[in-house]
């Protein structure tokens, strides 16, 4: 048996995403095993709950490395916990594939780190490009106060400067806020052309619905945090027309994407979201790497991952020298209660950072 | 008023107000070194408040309190205690988690506890325990030394309160109804103890409603009524003062009789 580790928030505030991530990873493992596993052996996913908290992630990662002796690991968790775990995997020389945590320091931790998603800054820049593409100028920036939101805002502002957009006002709100009355009133009085608001579906749902209810009708741009059917459920009619920059394109022609979406539906019984797709991808990437090394971990696996290219539901991936991927950002728009393709953003603006010169 | 520069304690024109209520109204008196002064007056006259103003538990709204010529104004409680005051309260408040002896020893350790640093450097409590035992004996409850206050009856606690105040080795001891809750024999004994302590050089202000004992041990009386000082002087003379008699002793005057409530109202229904 080949063991791969998986740290994921199953309890605590991020449990909903954690559940989705776990389903994605489990699907990847099941599919691999159905096809005969790796080097004739079955793949086993060792799952630990990290509560999305750095403090809990450290013992979890240590346990995976020391006790379970996993050959590689996948993060199905948020940035904070993933960062804390990263150091331990790096020290243990265990390749660690990160699915959707966006903190820049993760890949900087060392060469055993890999990330399959776009970093926050990159996605923020893509957001600014979308504004440009929509032909809008005056942006109200609403930022979720955590590492995710802050990274997005930084990227967005960087892009905005490049495109000559005007950020009329910038607001921040907390992870636990659900009532945005004051903020909405103020945004309304700012009278922007477009709103760029970061958040997770559980903050974005109420935010968008409250904006719309107050009569703010300008386009709203969200990002991968919105990417869940729950967002549409919460925001209801208000969700219609909201743009989302993400890594999953529901209308993709790619076979990998199509089969993933179908398989997920069949196995889990609900629609896959970005978190599920990313975790599936990360797990799959790791398994593909293992196939190349015949189940060996360590340096061999690291090199195999670094050298490989992977067909995944979120596009064709290859890692750069910092082990970040360069890929296009998908813009989805909500139409008739479903995520639909709007456009794809690509170009040099989306280049991930590469290894800092020492 | 005669000014006596050598007064140990001097209360000068003190007024205490609680919101709209004037509990003490422009009261002045002196306490001479070595004196045993009785502070008496009707319920709610302001006696306890007076002691509290002296110790700083309540702030005087106006006026000044001076100990050995130094003004105590604005001085926090603990400084006043360290300067030589000590208060035995009307409502007893022992520390319930520790024994009676430790209660007294804690007070006796004042030199050690003056600053946290000093307190941190010292561990032994032997000396203080010895003082504690002595004080408990003095007030007659040494037999209970190792028990916790929680289960003690009121009479014991009243005396514990006094032992604790004594353990501070005060120059001026303020006693608020130390005899309350004791039977006449015990009250008599404790009053004698108080007089004895006084003879050993501790100046004392005594609040008491037990007039028999007050008359027996006090050298001088100050009488408050409704926040005002209505009399002071030699006990017998004060007691004969008609103002004092009517406010405090309730001689059967005609007016008194007329005010007697109609007692039949309550209780009759059930009987």
């Amino acid at each position: 048996q080949i063991k791969i580790g998986f740290n994921v928030p199953l309890t605590g505030f991020a449990a909903a995403d954690g559940k989705s991530a776990l389903e994605g990873a489990k699907l990847a493992v099941a599919q691999a095993n159905a096809k005969g596993g790796v080097a004739g052996q079955k793949v086993e996913l060792v799952v630990y709950d990290d509560q999305a908290s750095p403090k809990e992630a450290v013992p979890v990662a240590t346990k995976l490395v020391e006790k379970d002796k996993v050959v590689g690991a996948v993060s199905g968790s948020y940035s904070g916990s993933t960062r804390a775990a990263a150091g331990i995997f790096q020290q243990g020389k265990v390749p660690y594939v990160v699915s959707y945590a966006i903190h820049p320091d993760i890949t900087l931790t060392g060469d055993y780190m890999f990330r399959v998603s776009a970093m926050g800054e990159v996605q923020g820049r893509a957001g600014s490009m979308l504004v440009q593409n929509l032909g809008k100028k005056k942006v109200a920036l609403i930022t979720l106060k955590n590492d995710f939101g802050q990274a997005l805002a930084a990227g967005f502002k960087e892009g905005a400067q490049k495109f000559g957009l005007q950020v009329v006002n910038e607001y921040e709100y907390g992870m636990q806020d659900r009532q945005f009355g004051a903020l909405v009133s103020k945004v309304k009085s700012d009278n922007p052309d477009v709103i760029y608001a970061s958040g997770y579906y559980f903050t974005a749902g109420p935010l968008v619905s409250q904006l719309r209810a107050a009569g703010v009708s300008v386009p709203i741009i969200g990002q991968e945090g919105y990417d869940s059917d729950k967002f549409i459920e919460i925001a209801g009619a208000a969700a219609e027309g909201v743009y989302v920059t993400t890594s999953l394109d529901r209308d993709s022609d790619s076979a990998a994407t199509k089969s993933f979406l179908a398989d997920f539906r069949k196995e889990v019984g609900s629609n896959a979201d970005m978190v599920a797709a990313s975790s599936f991808t990360a797990t799959n990437v790791l398994i593909e790497g293992l196939k190349k090394t015949n189940g060996k971990g360590g340096d061999a696996l690291k090199d195999a991952l670094a050298a490989g290219t992977f067909e995944t539901p979120i596009g064709k991936l290859a890692f750069n020298d910092l082990h970040e991927v360069k890929k296009d950002v998908q813009v989805q728009v909500i139409k008739d209660k479903a995520f639909r393709r709007h456009s794809v953003i690509s170009g040099p603006l989306l280049s991930p950072p590469s290894k800092p010169a020492k | 008023m005669k000014i006596q520069p050598q007064a140990l304690l001097r209360v000068a024109n003190v007024t205490v107000r609680f919101g709209g209520l004037t509990a003490i109204d422009d009261v002045s008196f002196d306490v001479q070194p070595g004196e045993l002064l009785g502070l008496i007056g009707p319920n709610g006259a302001g006696k306890t408040t007076m002691l509290r103003a002296i110790t700083g538990v309540v702030r005087a709204t106006e006026g000044d309190v001076m100990l050995e010529g130094d003004s105590l104004n604005g001085m926090p409680i603990h400084k006043r205690i360290q300067k030589g005051l000590s208060l035995s309260q009307q409502l007893v408040k022992p520390f319930r988690e520790i024994s009676l002896l430790d209660n007294v020893a804690l007070a006796a350790g004042m030199a050690r506890t003056r600053s946290p640093l000093k307190a941190l450097m010292h561990v032994s409590q032997d000396e203080e325990a010895a003082i504690g035992r002595e004080m408990l004996e003095r007030v007659g409850i040494a037999a209970h030394a190792d028990q916790k206050p929680g289960i003690q009856p009121l009479g014991i606690l009243k005396r514990l309160e006094m032992a604790r105040a004594l353990a501070l080795k005060p120059k001026l001891l303020l006693l608020d109804e130390p005899l309350a809750g004791l039977n006449s024999k015990e009250a008599n004994a404790l009053a004698t103890t108080i007089a004895e302590i006084n003879r050993q050089g501790v100046t004392i202000i005594l609040i008491e409603h037990n007039l028999g004992e007050v008359m027996r041990v006090c050298q001088r009386l100050v009488v408050l009524d409704n926040g005002r000082k209505i009399a002071q002087g030699e006990p017998r003379a004060v007691m004969n003062d008609p103002a004092v008699r009517s406010a405090y002793l309730g001689g059967d005057t005609i007016a008194e009789k007329a005010k007697q409530p109609n007692l039949a109202v309550v209780g009759g229904t059930h009987a």
């Binding site: - | 009856p153 039977n183 109202v265 209780g267």
Partner: protein
């Protein structure tokens, strides 16, 4: 009226009162005396239902009330002015009296309050003060007044004269005599032994939780061995 049959009570394993039998005749004053720690307060609190009954029975008006809750006992007509006063410190004087009158119809309140204020005019000047801010004596008055507000058949007063000035003590005793005439039964705990012996009909002397003497107050005064040994009279 109130009959204690071989009553023992205490705290946890500790027995504060042993085998106390006492009968209060209706419309009389009974004094309960004894040194500190004798068990007087414990007896009162046991009758009120707050100290655990370990053996024996409490009969009131011919019925066994041993198992009733304190709340049921006061409705039967037993009121207490407890040791330590135990006022509702965060309530005003008037509200304390109001609580006293809770078991009576609201319409009685004004009348009963005025009676108490007539007894203790000092309280009338402090109606809006919080009970916790009252002076010691004022608190004692309020504790007694609050008990009276229940219109009890039996009132138990612990340390009646504690903290009261001589004039008010006189008043209280006179009021109690009047209440007795009106048919109320009174159980008094008092350190002021001379006073009790002069006023009470019956006395019971406790010592370390045991009865050492019981009988008519007038007889107690004549029993010199008793007065010398237990009552601290000279």
């Amino acid at each position: 009226m109130l009959e204690l049959h071989h009553l023992s009570c205490g705290y946890g394993a500790f027995e504060a009162v042993h085998d106390l039998s006492l009968t209060l005749r209706p419309g009389t004053i009974t004094g309960l005396i004894g040194t500190n720690g004798a068990g007087k307060s414990s007896t009162l609190m046991c009758v009120a239902g707050h100290v655990a009954l370990k053996a024996g029975a409490i009969m009131f008006d011919g019925q066994d009330i041993s198992t009733l809750t304190p709340e049921q006992r006061v409705r039967r007509g037993i009121a207490i002015s407890p040791e330590g006063r135990r006022l509702f410190k965060d309530l005003s004087v008037e509200d304390n009296l109001r609580v006293g009158g809770l078991i009576q119809p609201a319409s009685h309140f004004k009348q009963d309050r005025d009676y108490v204020l007539g007894l203790f005019p000092r309280l009338g000047e402090r109606l809006d003060s919080l009970a916790g801010n009252l002076s010691g004596g004022e608190q004692q008055m309020l504790a007694i007044g609050r008990a009276l507000m229940t219109r009890p058949k039996l009132i138990m007063i612990d340390e009646l004269s504690l903290g009261l000035m001589p004039k008010v003590i006189d008043l209280c005793y006179r009021a109690l005599q009047q209440l007795r005439q009106d048919g109320m039964t009174i159980l008094l705990v008092e350190q002021n032994t001379d006073r009790v012996l002069a006023f009470a009909d019956d006395v019971c002397v406790l010592e370390s939780g045991r009865t050492v003497w019981q009988g008519k107050a007038s007889d107690a005064l004549n029993d010199t061995s008793l007065t010398a040994a237990y009552l601290g009279l000279h």
